[in-house]
């Protein structure tokens, strides 16, 4: 069965500093990988996704992620965080063709931004 691990439950970063959120997955076939963000009181919003091609994926809000098959990882990065980036971040792997059978999510990483 597929699984997603986000090793960091909480991360605190100073405003303007760089950010990397870790994600490791376990899936037998070619993975469809996603990063979602959930701001307080809001629904989930897609940041970016990967299914083939260039392993460095650009997303919204200045985020990017790199797929590394050899490490089974899909880490999310941002060069300079803003206070508005404070939120819960979820990595997910899609099951079935493109995720048609649903997503398996990690437990999330709570990002805190220090002024």
């Amino acid at each position: 069965a597929q699984s997603v691990t986000q090793p960091d439950i909480h991360i605190t970063v100073s405003e303007g500093a760089s950010l990397e959120l870790r994600c490791n997955y376990s899936y037998g076939a070619t993975p469809y990988l996603f990063w979602y963000v959930q701001s307080p009181g809001q629904g989930l919003q897609l940041l970016l996704k990967y299914f083939s091609g260039d392993t460095l994926v650009q997303g919204i809000k200045g985020f990017e992620a790199e797929f590394k098959r050899s490490q089974s990882s899909f880490n999310l990065r941002k060069p300079s965080v803003h206070w508005s980036d404070a939120a819960e971040y979820f990595c997910a792997v899609g099951v079935g063709g493109g995720g048609a059978d649903g997503l398996t999510f990690g437990k999330g990483t709570h990002l805190i931004i220090q002024p």
Binding site: F34, L46, Y50, G98, D101, G102
Partner: protein
């Protein structure tokens, strides 16, 4: 923009009640999903549906059922609510396409079972 709406943001029910959570999407998406979100557990898939009158069990279907009579509407039913079903419930929809299908999420329903 895709819009996924859920009938209630907050709901309080009593143990043993039958509970209906409604979800509507306005983009003619084939696939619809129900997840529950609990602190420290992330989101877990309850049920999903490829089309009208079709349903598939997800990872945690016990205690739940679903109904999809129209393409745009997907209902989650708690036949006899229990306190361990207190949670945030999120509905999502996606368009079948090539590659990774983006799921669009509703704002969620926070259900409390007393």
């Amino acid at each position: 923009d895709v819009k996924v709406t859920q009938s209630s943001r907050y709901l309080v029910k009593r143990t043993g009640e039958k509970v209906f959570l409604e979800c509507v999407q306005d983009m003619d998406h084939e696939n619809m999903f129900w997840y529950r979100q609990d602190p420290g557990l992330g989101l877990r898939l309850i049920y999903f549906s490829y089309d009208v009158k079709m349903k598939e069990k997800g990872d945690i279907p016990e205690g739940y059922s679903v109904s999809r009579e129209k393409k745009e509407r997907f209902s989650l039913i708690l036949e006899s609510a229990s306190t361990n079903q207190t949670s945030m419930y999120l509905c999502a929809s996606s368009l079948v396409g090539q590659g990774a299908d983006t799921q669009y999420f509703g704002p969620g329903t926070r259900l409390t079972v007393l």
